[in-house]
Symmetry: C2
Subunit: 294 residues, 2 copies
Protein backbone atom coordinates (compact mmCIF):
# COMPACT_ATOMS: atom_id res chain seq x y z
CA UNK A 1 0.00 0.00 0.00
CA UNK A 2 1.22 3.44 -0.86
CA UNK A 3 0.96 4.80 2.67
CA UNK A 4 2.86 1.87 4.13
CA UNK A 5 5.66 2.41 1.66
CA UNK A 6 5.74 6.07 2.60
CA UNK A 7 5.87 5.28 6.31
CA UNK A 8 8.69 2.83 5.83
CA UNK A 9 10.90 5.75 4.81
CA UNK A 10 10.71 7.26 8.29
CA UNK A 11 13.62 6.78 10.62
CA UNK A 12 11.35 8.01 13.42
CA UNK A 13 7.58 8.38 12.96
CA UNK A 14 4.97 9.39 15.55
CA UNK A 15 3.53 6.59 17.67
CA UNK A 16 -0.05 7.73 18.33
CA UNK A 17 -0.85 4.44 20.10
CA UNK A 18 1.89 4.84 22.73
CA UNK A 19 0.18 4.49 26.11
CA UNK A 20 2.09 7.18 27.99
CA UNK A 21 1.48 9.98 25.49
CA UNK A 22 -2.29 10.34 25.66
CA UNK A 23 -5.00 9.85 28.24
CA UNK A 24 -8.80 9.56 28.02
CA UNK A 25 -10.38 12.59 29.72
CA UNK A 26 -14.07 12.78 30.54
CA UNK A 27 -16.06 15.82 29.58
CA UNK A 28 -19.63 16.86 28.90
CA UNK A 29 -20.47 18.10 25.42
CA UNK A 30 -22.75 20.91 24.23
CA UNK A 31 -25.80 18.63 24.34
CA UNK A 32 -25.13 17.60 27.96
CA UNK A 33 -23.86 14.15 26.97
CA UNK A 34 -20.82 12.68 28.71
CA UNK A 35 -17.94 12.22 26.29
CA UNK A 36 -14.51 10.62 26.47
CA UNK A 37 -11.73 12.44 24.72
CA UNK A 38 -8.19 11.33 23.95
CA UNK A 39 -5.94 14.11 25.19
CA UNK A 40 -2.17 14.59 25.07
CA UNK A 41 -0.13 14.37 28.26
CA UNK A 42 2.09 17.15 29.56
CA UNK A 43 4.89 16.18 31.96
CA UNK A 44 7.80 18.00 33.55
CA UNK A 45 11.31 17.01 32.52
CA UNK A 46 14.24 18.64 34.30
CA UNK A 47 17.40 18.89 32.24
CA UNK A 48 20.81 18.91 33.92
CA UNK A 49 24.16 19.61 32.28
CA UNK A 50 26.73 17.84 34.44
CA UNK A 51 26.01 19.04 37.98
CA UNK A 52 23.99 22.09 36.96
CA UNK A 53 20.17 22.15 36.75
CA UNK A 54 19.37 24.04 33.54
CA UNK A 55 15.62 24.05 32.97
CA UNK A 56 12.37 22.17 33.51
CA UNK A 57 10.53 21.55 30.23
CA UNK A 58 6.86 20.64 29.94
CA UNK A 59 6.74 17.86 27.35
CA UNK A 60 4.63 14.92 26.20
CA UNK A 61 7.50 12.78 27.44
CA UNK A 62 8.83 10.81 24.47
CA UNK A 63 12.52 10.92 23.51
CA UNK A 64 13.68 12.71 26.69
CA UNK A 65 17.34 12.17 25.81
CA UNK A 66 16.95 13.81 22.39
CA UNK A 67 15.00 16.66 23.96
CA UNK A 68 17.76 17.30 26.50
CA UNK A 69 20.56 17.09 23.95
CA UNK A 70 18.69 19.24 21.44
CA UNK A 71 17.74 21.86 24.00
CA UNK A 72 21.35 22.22 25.16
CA UNK A 73 22.55 22.21 21.56
CA UNK A 74 20.08 24.86 20.41
CA UNK A 75 20.97 27.04 23.40
CA UNK A 76 24.64 26.87 22.45
CA UNK A 77 25.48 24.96 25.64
CA UNK A 78 26.78 21.99 23.65
CA UNK A 79 29.23 22.82 20.90
CA UNK A 80 30.04 20.97 17.69
CA UNK A 81 32.24 18.01 18.42
CA UNK A 82 31.84 18.32 22.16
CA UNK A 83 32.19 14.88 23.70
CA UNK A 84 29.01 13.79 25.45
CA UNK A 85 30.02 11.06 27.88
CA UNK A 86 26.52 10.13 29.02
CA UNK A 87 22.82 10.95 28.77
CA UNK A 88 20.97 9.49 31.75
CA UNK A 89 17.19 9.58 31.90
CA UNK A 90 15.44 8.81 35.19
CA UNK A 91 11.74 8.11 34.65
CA UNK A 92 10.79 8.38 38.34
CA UNK A 93 12.66 11.60 39.01
CA UNK A 94 11.66 13.01 35.59
CA UNK A 95 15.21 14.15 34.94
CA UNK A 96 17.81 13.87 32.20
CA UNK A 97 21.46 14.42 33.03
CA UNK A 98 23.75 15.19 30.09
CA UNK A 99 27.41 14.64 30.92
CA UNK A 100 30.33 16.12 29.02
CA UNK A 101 34.05 15.86 29.60
CA UNK A 102 34.74 19.58 29.26
CA UNK A 103 33.85 22.81 30.98
CA UNK A 104 30.86 24.54 29.43
CA UNK A 105 29.75 28.13 29.22
CA UNK A 106 26.31 27.57 30.66
CA UNK A 107 26.81 29.63 33.79
CA UNK A 108 27.41 32.71 31.72
CA UNK A 109 24.42 31.85 29.50
CA UNK A 110 22.10 31.57 32.46
CA UNK A 111 22.62 35.22 33.27
CA UNK A 112 20.90 36.46 30.13
CA UNK A 113 17.33 35.44 29.45
CA UNK A 114 15.18 36.26 26.45
CA UNK A 115 11.52 35.49 26.38
CA UNK A 116 10.55 34.36 22.91
CA UNK A 117 7.29 34.76 21.08
CA UNK A 118 5.80 31.32 21.13
CA UNK A 119 2.73 30.36 23.07
CA UNK A 120 4.36 30.17 26.47
CA UNK A 121 6.53 32.22 28.70
CA UNK A 122 9.55 31.75 26.51
CA UNK A 123 13.14 32.04 27.52
CA UNK A 124 16.29 31.30 25.70
CA UNK A 125 19.54 31.56 27.48
CA UNK A 126 22.30 33.74 26.24
CA UNK A 127 22.00 36.03 23.30
CA UNK A 128 19.40 34.64 20.90
CA UNK A 129 21.29 35.91 17.91
CA UNK A 130 24.64 34.63 19.16
CA UNK A 131 26.45 32.54 16.60
CA UNK A 132 24.10 33.67 13.86
CA UNK A 133 26.64 36.05 12.33
CA UNK A 134 28.89 33.05 11.63
CA UNK A 135 26.14 31.08 9.89
CA UNK A 136 26.47 30.59 6.14
CA UNK A 137 23.77 28.24 4.98
CA UNK A 138 24.57 26.09 1.92
CA UNK A 139 22.54 27.07 -1.19
CA UNK A 140 20.21 24.07 -1.30
CA UNK A 141 17.95 23.89 -4.32
CA UNK A 142 14.36 23.20 -3.20
CA UNK A 143 12.05 21.56 -5.75
CA UNK A 144 8.42 22.57 -5.53
CA UNK A 145 7.48 19.00 -6.48
CA UNK A 146 9.28 17.84 -3.31
CA UNK A 147 7.43 20.43 -1.23
CA UNK A 148 4.06 19.15 -2.46
CA UNK A 149 5.03 15.51 -1.93
CA UNK A 150 6.36 16.20 1.57
CA UNK A 151 3.22 18.05 2.64
CA UNK A 152 0.99 15.26 1.35
CA UNK A 153 3.06 12.53 3.02
CA UNK A 154 3.29 14.35 6.35
CA UNK A 155 -0.45 15.10 6.40
CA UNK A 156 -1.22 11.42 5.79
CA UNK A 157 1.13 10.14 8.47
CA UNK A 158 -0.69 8.82 11.56
CA UNK A 159 0.18 11.20 14.36
CA UNK A 160 -0.74 12.32 17.86
CA UNK A 161 -2.15 15.40 16.18
CA UNK A 162 -4.68 13.33 14.26
CA UNK A 163 -5.34 11.22 17.38
CA UNK A 164 -5.62 13.89 20.06
CA UNK A 165 -4.83 17.37 18.70
CA UNK A 166 -3.37 20.20 20.77
CA UNK A 167 0.15 19.38 19.64
CA UNK A 168 2.79 20.66 17.26
CA UNK A 169 4.79 18.64 14.77
CA UNK A 170 8.20 19.21 13.22
CA UNK A 171 9.65 16.97 10.52
CA UNK A 172 13.22 16.68 9.26
CA UNK A 173 13.07 16.00 5.52
CA UNK A 174 15.45 15.20 2.67
CA UNK A 175 14.29 15.63 -0.91
CA UNK A 176 10.74 14.34 -1.00
CA UNK A 177 11.18 12.10 2.07
CA UNK A 178 10.15 12.92 5.63
CA UNK A 179 12.79 11.26 7.83
CA UNK A 180 12.21 12.17 11.47
CA UNK A 181 8.76 13.36 12.66
CA UNK A 182 8.66 14.66 16.24
CA UNK A 183 5.61 16.01 18.04
CA UNK A 184 5.28 17.87 21.33
CA UNK A 185 2.99 20.19 23.26
CA UNK A 186 5.46 22.96 22.48
CA UNK A 187 6.89 23.25 19.00
CA UNK A 188 10.23 24.28 20.54
CA UNK A 189 10.39 20.82 22.10
CA UNK A 190 9.62 19.13 18.77
CA UNK A 191 12.45 21.07 17.11
CA UNK A 192 14.81 20.40 19.99
CA UNK A 193 14.11 16.65 19.78
CA UNK A 194 15.10 16.77 16.11
CA UNK A 195 18.26 18.72 16.99
CA UNK A 196 19.08 16.10 19.63
CA UNK A 197 18.60 13.29 17.16
CA UNK A 198 20.80 15.06 14.58
CA UNK A 199 23.51 15.67 17.20
CA UNK A 200 23.44 12.01 18.26
CA UNK A 201 23.50 10.71 14.69
CA UNK A 202 25.94 13.39 13.45
CA UNK A 203 23.52 14.08 10.62
CA UNK A 204 24.62 16.33 7.78
CA UNK A 205 22.14 19.25 7.80
CA UNK A 206 23.17 20.73 4.45
CA UNK A 207 20.70 18.79 2.26
CA UNK A 208 17.81 18.84 4.73
CA UNK A 209 14.57 20.81 4.98
CA UNK A 210 12.63 21.37 8.19
CA UNK A 211 8.83 21.27 8.02
CA UNK A 212 6.81 22.57 10.95
CA UNK A 213 3.13 22.94 11.72
CA UNK A 214 3.77 26.05 13.79
CA UNK A 215 4.32 29.68 12.99
CA UNK A 216 7.58 30.94 11.56
CA UNK A 217 8.65 33.27 14.34
CA UNK A 218 12.16 34.63 14.85
CA UNK A 219 12.85 31.79 17.26
CA UNK A 220 12.03 29.06 14.73
CA UNK A 221 14.10 30.74 12.02
CA UNK A 222 17.08 31.20 14.35
CA UNK A 223 16.95 27.59 15.57
CA UNK A 224 16.78 26.25 12.02
CA UNK A 225 19.71 28.39 10.92
CA UNK A 226 21.82 27.44 13.95
CA UNK A 227 21.09 23.78 13.17
CA UNK A 228 22.62 24.42 9.72
CA UNK A 229 19.41 23.49 7.88
CA UNK A 230 19.02 25.65 4.74
CA UNK A 231 15.23 25.45 4.22
CA UNK A 232 12.19 25.83 6.48
CA UNK A 233 8.57 25.31 5.45
CA UNK A 234 5.32 25.64 7.37
CA UNK A 235 1.57 25.43 6.94
CA UNK A 236 1.30 28.47 9.21
CA UNK A 237 2.02 32.15 9.02
CA UNK A 238 5.13 34.12 9.91
CA UNK A 239 6.31 37.26 11.63
CA UNK A 240 8.12 40.18 10.03
CA UNK A 241 11.28 39.59 12.07
CA UNK A 242 11.30 35.88 11.22
CA UNK A 243 11.34 36.81 7.52
CA UNK A 244 14.06 39.41 8.05
CA UNK A 245 16.39 36.97 9.80
CA UNK A 246 15.79 34.30 7.15
CA UNK A 247 16.88 36.76 4.45
CA UNK A 248 19.98 37.74 6.41
CA UNK A 249 21.21 34.16 6.87
CA UNK A 250 20.18 32.86 3.43
CA UNK A 251 17.48 30.51 4.67
CA UNK A 252 14.81 29.50 2.15
CA UNK A 253 11.55 30.26 3.97
CA UNK A 254 8.16 29.00 2.84
CA UNK A 255 4.94 29.76 4.69
CA UNK A 256 1.20 29.22 4.43
CA UNK A 257 1.71 25.94 2.60
CA UNK A 258 -1.72 24.40 2.03
CA UNK A 259 -2.75 22.28 -0.90
CA UNK A 260 -1.26 23.90 -3.99
CA UNK A 261 -0.70 27.22 -2.27
CA UNK A 262 2.41 28.55 -0.56
CA UNK A 263 4.34 31.78 -0.22
CA UNK A 264 8.11 31.94 -0.47
CA UNK A 265 9.42 34.72 1.77
CA UNK A 266 13.13 34.26 1.37
CA UNK A 267 15.42 32.38 -1.03
CA UNK A 268 13.03 32.38 -3.98
CA UNK A 269 16.03 32.09 -6.34
CA UNK A 270 16.77 28.64 -4.86
CA UNK A 271 13.29 27.30 -5.65
CA UNK A 272 13.08 25.00 -8.64
CA UNK A 273 9.51 25.31 -9.86
CA UNK A 274 9.23 21.86 -11.39
CA UNK A 275 5.60 21.20 -10.39
CA UNK A 276 2.51 22.68 -11.99
CA UNK A 277 0.40 24.02 -9.11
CA UNK A 278 -2.74 23.57 -11.20
CA UNK A 279 -2.09 19.83 -11.22
CA UNK A 280 -2.22 19.85 -7.42
CA UNK A 281 -5.54 19.28 -5.72
CA UNK A 282 -6.81 21.85 -3.25
CA UNK A 283 -6.27 20.53 0.24
CA UNK A 284 -8.61 17.83 1.45
CA UNK A 285 -10.36 19.30 4.51
CA UNK A 286 -9.88 15.99 6.34
CA UNK A 287 -6.15 16.63 6.36
CA UNK A 288 -6.44 20.31 7.07
CA UNK A 289 -4.73 21.52 10.18
CA UNK A 290 -4.51 25.14 11.06
CA UNK A 291 -5.75 27.84 8.77
CA UNK A 292 -3.19 29.38 6.48
CA UNK A 293 -3.27 32.58 8.48
CA UNK A 294 -2.50 30.96 11.81
CA UNK B 1 -25.30 48.70 13.20
CA UNK B 2 -25.17 45.64 15.41
CA UNK B 3 -21.41 45.21 15.20
CA UNK B 4 -20.79 48.83 16.12
CA UNK B 5 -22.93 48.46 19.20
CA UNK B 6 -21.08 45.33 20.15
CA UNK B 7 -17.71 47.01 19.67
CA UNK B 8 -18.76 49.93 21.82
CA UNK B 9 -18.86 47.56 24.79
CA UNK B 10 -15.11 47.01 24.62
CA UNK B 11 -12.90 48.86 27.07
CA UNK B 12 -9.94 47.79 24.91
CA UNK B 13 -10.40 46.32 21.43
CA UNK B 14 -7.71 45.33 18.92
CA UNK B 15 -6.48 48.05 16.60
CA UNK B 16 -5.64 46.20 13.38
CA UNK B 17 -4.84 49.46 11.59
CA UNK B 18 -2.15 50.54 14.05
CA UNK B 19 0.95 51.25 11.99
CA UNK B 20 3.55 49.78 14.32
CA UNK B 21 1.91 46.36 14.71
CA UNK B 22 2.05 45.02 11.16
CA UNK B 23 4.32 45.42 8.16
CA UNK B 24 3.92 44.58 4.46
CA UNK B 25 6.33 41.78 3.54
CA UNK B 26 7.06 40.81 -0.05
CA UNK B 27 6.90 37.19 -1.09
CA UNK B 28 6.41 35.07 -4.18
CA UNK B 29 3.38 32.80 -4.31
CA UNK B 30 2.94 29.28 -5.66
CA UNK B 31 2.33 30.58 -9.18
CA UNK B 32 5.53 32.65 -9.16
CA UNK B 33 3.68 35.94 -8.71
CA UNK B 34 5.04 38.58 -6.36
CA UNK B 35 2.68 39.17 -3.46
CA UNK B 36 2.51 41.63 -0.59
CA UNK B 37 1.43 40.24 2.74
CA UNK B 38 0.50 42.05 5.92
CA UNK B 39 2.53 40.41 8.67
CA UNK B 40 2.64 40.97 12.43
CA UNK B 41 5.71 42.54 14.00
CA UNK B 42 7.79 40.91 16.71
CA UNK B 43 9.92 43.18 18.90
CA UNK B 44 12.04 42.69 21.98
CA UNK B 45 10.88 44.32 25.22
CA UNK B 46 13.13 44.06 28.25
CA UNK B 47 11.32 44.17 31.58
CA UNK B 48 13.02 45.51 34.70
CA UNK B 49 11.75 45.34 38.26
CA UNK B 50 13.42 48.22 40.07
CA UNK B 51 17.14 47.80 39.33
CA UNK B 52 16.92 44.17 38.26
CA UNK B 53 16.62 43.04 34.61
CA UNK B 54 14.04 40.26 34.64
CA UNK B 55 13.38 39.07 31.10
CA UNK B 56 13.28 40.08 27.44
CA UNK B 57 9.91 39.29 25.86
CA UNK B 58 9.26 39.05 22.12
CA UNK B 59 6.00 40.97 21.58
CA UNK B 60 4.03 42.80 18.92
CA UNK B 61 4.71 45.90 21.00
CA UNK B 62 1.36 47.34 22.08
CA UNK B 63 0.60 48.00 25.77
CA UNK B 64 4.17 47.46 27.00
CA UNK B 65 3.30 48.73 30.48
CA UNK B 66 0.44 46.24 30.88
CA UNK B 67 2.66 43.45 29.56
CA UNK B 68 5.37 44.26 32.10
CA UNK B 69 2.95 44.58 35.03
CA UNK B 70 1.05 41.44 34.05
CA UNK B 71 4.20 39.40 33.52
CA UNK B 72 5.54 40.34 36.95
CA UNK B 73 2.12 39.77 38.49
CA UNK B 74 1.64 36.33 36.90
CA UNK B 75 5.13 35.30 38.01
CA UNK B 76 4.31 36.22 41.58
CA UNK B 77 6.87 39.02 41.57
CA UNK B 78 4.18 41.65 42.26
CA UNK B 79 1.85 40.85 45.14
CA UNK B 80 -1.72 41.95 45.78
CA UNK B 81 -1.78 45.48 47.05
CA UNK B 82 1.89 46.04 46.36
CA UNK B 83 2.45 49.72 45.69
CA UNK B 84 3.74 50.31 42.16
CA UNK B 85 5.37 53.73 42.20
CA UNK B 86 6.11 53.92 38.47
CA UNK B 87 5.98 52.11 35.15
CA UNK B 88 8.37 53.72 32.68
CA UNK B 89 8.43 52.65 29.06
CA UNK B 90 11.32 53.71 26.84
CA UNK B 91 10.49 53.24 23.17
CA UNK B 92 14.08 53.67 21.93
CA UNK B 93 15.65 51.36 24.49
CA UNK B 94 12.73 48.91 24.23
CA UNK B 95 12.53 48.64 28.00
CA UNK B 96 9.91 48.91 30.70
CA UNK B 97 10.97 49.59 34.28
CA UNK B 98 8.41 48.76 36.98
CA UNK B 99 9.18 50.47 40.28
CA UNK B 100 7.85 49.42 43.66
CA UNK B 101 8.48 50.81 47.12
CA UNK B 102 9.19 47.45 48.74
CA UNK B 103 11.70 44.65 48.50
CA UNK B 104 10.61 41.85 46.22
CA UNK B 105 11.36 38.17 46.12
CA UNK B 106 12.47 38.10 42.49
CA UNK B 107 16.04 37.13 43.18
CA UNK B 108 14.91 33.92 44.77
CA UNK B 109 12.46 33.35 41.91
CA UNK B 110 15.15 33.74 39.30
CA UNK B 111 16.94 30.70 40.65
CA UNK B 112 14.21 28.28 39.65
CA UNK B 113 13.16 28.07 36.02
CA UNK B 114 10.43 25.97 34.48
CA UNK B 115 10.01 25.67 30.78
CA UNK B 116 6.33 25.54 29.92
CA UNK B 117 4.56 23.82 27.09
CA UNK B 118 3.58 26.64 24.81
CA UNK B 119 5.02 27.25 21.41
CA UNK B 120 8.32 28.66 22.53
CA UNK B 121 11.13 27.94 24.87
CA UNK B 122 9.01 28.59 27.90
CA UNK B 123 10.22 29.56 31.31
CA UNK B 124 8.37 30.64 34.36
CA UNK B 125 10.27 31.76 37.36
CA UNK B 126 9.75 30.16 40.71
CA UNK B 127 7.56 27.17 41.29
CA UNK B 128 4.79 27.19 38.67
CA UNK B 129 2.29 25.80 41.13
CA UNK B 130 3.29 28.21 43.88
CA UNK B 131 0.30 29.99 45.37
CA UNK B 132 -2.12 27.61 43.68
CA UNK B 133 -2.86 25.71 46.89
CA UNK B 134 -4.28 28.94 48.37
CA UNK B 135 -6.57 29.56 45.40
CA UNK B 136 -10.31 29.15 45.98
CA UNK B 137 -12.15 30.30 42.91
CA UNK B 138 -15.65 31.73 43.44
CA UNK B 139 -18.44 29.48 42.07
CA UNK B 140 -19.44 31.60 39.07
CA UNK B 141 -22.46 30.37 37.15
CA UNK B 142 -21.69 30.30 33.41
CA UNK B 143 -24.66 30.54 31.03
CA UNK B 144 -24.28 28.65 27.77
CA UNK B 145 -26.19 31.48 26.06
CA UNK B 146 -23.42 33.85 27.16
CA UNK B 147 -20.76 31.47 25.82
CA UNK B 148 -22.39 31.43 22.39
CA UNK B 149 -22.85 35.21 22.35
CA UNK B 150 -19.24 35.81 23.43
CA UNK B 151 -17.81 33.51 20.78
CA UNK B 152 -19.89 35.16 18.04
CA UNK B 153 -18.95 38.68 19.17
CA UNK B 154 -15.25 37.91 19.51
CA UNK B 155 -15.12 36.21 16.10
CA UNK B 156 -16.73 39.27 14.48
CA UNK B 157 -14.43 41.77 16.15
CA UNK B 158 -11.88 43.28 13.73
CA UNK B 159 -8.50 42.03 14.90
CA UNK B 160 -4.87 41.62 13.94
CA UNK B 161 -5.67 37.95 13.54
CA UNK B 162 -8.15 38.69 10.77
CA UNK B 163 -5.76 41.26 9.28
CA UNK B 164 -2.47 39.38 9.41
CA UNK B 165 -2.81 36.04 11.21
CA UNK B 166 -0.01 34.30 13.13
CA UNK B 167 -1.19 35.77 16.42
CA UNK B 168 -3.05 34.70 19.53
CA UNK B 169 -5.94 36.49 21.18
CA UNK B 170 -7.19 36.50 24.78
CA UNK B 171 -10.34 38.29 25.87
CA UNK B 172 -11.52 39.23 29.35
CA UNK B 173 -15.31 38.85 29.43
CA UNK B 174 -18.18 39.52 31.81
CA UNK B 175 -21.56 37.89 31.17
CA UNK B 176 -22.09 38.09 27.43
CA UNK B 177 -19.75 41.08 26.96
CA UNK B 178 -16.13 40.94 25.81
CA UNK B 179 -14.38 43.78 27.70
CA UNK B 180 -10.64 43.68 27.00
CA UNK B 181 -9.29 41.95 23.87
CA UNK B 182 -5.51 41.61 23.74
CA UNK B 183 -3.48 39.98 20.96
CA UNK B 184 0.17 39.02 20.80
CA UNK B 185 2.59 36.72 18.99
CA UNK B 186 2.67 34.63 22.15
CA UNK B 187 -0.57 33.85 23.96
CA UNK B 188 1.29 34.20 27.28
CA UNK B 189 1.86 37.85 26.38
CA UNK B 190 -1.82 38.39 25.55
CA UNK B 191 -2.81 36.93 28.94
CA UNK B 192 -0.14 38.93 30.74
CA UNK B 193 -1.38 42.17 29.13
CA UNK B 194 -4.85 41.39 30.48
CA UNK B 195 -3.38 40.67 33.92
CA UNK B 196 -1.52 43.99 33.80
CA UNK B 197 -4.69 45.84 32.86
CA UNK B 198 -6.61 44.15 35.69
CA UNK B 199 -3.84 44.98 38.17
CA UNK B 200 -3.82 48.63 37.06
CA UNK B 201 -7.60 48.96 37.17
CA UNK B 202 -8.00 46.84 40.33
CA UNK B 203 -10.60 44.80 38.46
CA UNK B 204 -12.68 42.27 40.39
CA UNK B 205 -11.95 38.91 38.73
CA UNK B 206 -14.73 36.95 40.47
CA UNK B 207 -17.43 37.52 37.83
CA UNK B 208 -15.15 37.31 34.79
CA UNK B 209 -14.47 34.67 32.17
CA UNK B 210 -11.29 34.44 30.09
CA UNK B 211 -11.61 33.45 26.43
CA UNK B 212 -8.50 32.43 24.51
CA UNK B 213 -7.76 31.28 20.99
CA UNK B 214 -4.91 29.09 22.19
CA UNK B 215 -4.67 25.66 23.73
CA UNK B 216 -5.59 25.03 27.34
CA UNK B 217 -2.26 23.87 28.68
CA UNK B 218 -1.29 23.70 32.35
CA UNK B 219 0.28 27.12 32.04
CA UNK B 220 -2.93 28.78 30.81
CA UNK B 221 -5.00 27.12 33.51
CA UNK B 222 -2.54 28.10 36.26
CA UNK B 223 -2.35 31.72 35.08
CA UNK B 224 -6.15 32.03 34.94
CA UNK B 225 -6.53 30.55 38.43
CA UNK B 226 -3.81 32.78 39.89
CA UNK B 227 -5.58 35.78 38.34
CA UNK B 228 -8.67 34.73 40.34
CA UNK B 229 -10.80 34.25 37.20
CA UNK B 230 -13.23 31.33 37.70
CA UNK B 231 -13.91 30.35 34.05
CA UNK B 232 -11.72 29.74 30.98
CA UNK B 233 -12.98 28.96 27.48
CA UNK B 234 -11.15 28.25 24.24
CA UNK B 235 -11.72 27.32 20.62
CA UNK B 236 -8.74 25.00 20.89
CA UNK B 237 -7.89 21.72 22.57
CA UNK B 238 -6.40 20.97 25.97
CA UNK B 239 -3.84 18.83 27.73
CA UNK B 240 -4.51 16.20 30.39
CA UNK B 241 -2.62 18.14 33.06
CA UNK B 242 -4.47 21.36 32.22
CA UNK B 243 -7.76 19.58 32.87
CA UNK B 244 -6.46 18.05 36.10
CA UNK B 245 -5.38 21.39 37.55
CA UNK B 246 -8.69 23.04 36.56
CA UNK B 247 -10.57 20.36 38.50
CA UNK B 248 -8.31 20.81 41.53
CA UNK B 249 -8.81 24.58 41.75
CA UNK B 250 -12.51 24.63 40.79
CA UNK B 251 -12.03 26.38 37.46
CA UNK B 252 -14.81 25.96 34.89
CA UNK B 253 -12.96 24.82 31.76
CA UNK B 254 -14.50 24.77 28.30
CA UNK B 255 -12.61 23.63 25.20
CA UNK B 256 -13.11 23.04 21.48
CA UNK B 257 -15.75 25.76 21.33
CA UNK B 258 -16.84 26.09 17.68
CA UNK B 259 -20.28 27.04 16.47
CA UNK B 260 -22.75 25.18 18.63
CA UNK B 261 -20.18 22.67 19.85
CA UNK B 262 -18.07 22.72 23.01
CA UNK B 263 -16.79 20.34 25.65
CA UNK B 264 -16.88 21.17 29.35
CA UNK B 265 -13.94 19.51 31.09
CA UNK B 266 -14.32 20.88 34.58
CA UNK B 267 -17.08 22.62 36.56
CA UNK B 268 -19.98 21.23 34.54
CA UNK B 269 -22.24 21.72 37.61
CA UNK B 270 -21.74 25.49 37.30
CA UNK B 271 -22.94 25.59 33.66
CA UNK B 272 -26.47 26.90 33.20
CA UNK B 273 -27.68 25.31 29.98
CA UNK B 274 -30.10 28.07 28.97
CA UNK B 275 -29.42 27.93 25.21
CA UNK B 276 -30.65 25.30 22.79
CA UNK B 277 -27.57 24.20 20.79
CA UNK B 278 -29.80 23.24 17.87
CA UNK B 279 -30.81 26.88 17.54
CA UNK B 280 -27.16 27.80 17.04
CA UNK B 281 -25.77 27.85 13.52
CA UNK B 282 -22.74 25.75 12.71
CA UNK B 283 -19.75 28.02 12.51
CA UNK B 284 -19.37 30.19 9.44
CA UNK B 285 -16.09 29.13 7.83
CA UNK B 286 -15.23 32.80 7.27
CA UNK B 287 -14.89 33.20 11.03
CA UNK B 288 -13.23 29.89 11.58
CA UNK B 289 -9.84 30.03 13.20
CA UNK B 290 -8.00 26.94 14.23
CA UNK B 291 -9.53 23.51 14.00
CA UNK B 292 -11.24 22.26 17.14
CA UNK B 293 -8.44 19.77 17.68
CA UNK B 294 -5.68 22.37 17.68
Amino acid sequence: MAVDNELSNYLIAPDPSAARLTRAVEGVDHTGQATNISVVEERPLTIFLNGQEIVTAMTIGDYPQYLALGFLRNQGMLRDGEAVTGVDYDDDLETVVVRTDSQTTYEEKLKKKTRTSGCAVGTVFGDMMEGLEDVTLPPLQVKTSDLYTLAARINRTPSLYLEAGAIHGTVLCQGDKPLVYMEDVGRHNAVDKIAGWMFSERTDPSDKLLYTTGRLTSEMVIKTALMGIPALASRSGFTAWGVEIAREVGLTLIGRMRGKRFVCLSGEERLLRDADPDQMAEEDSKHGRKGAKE
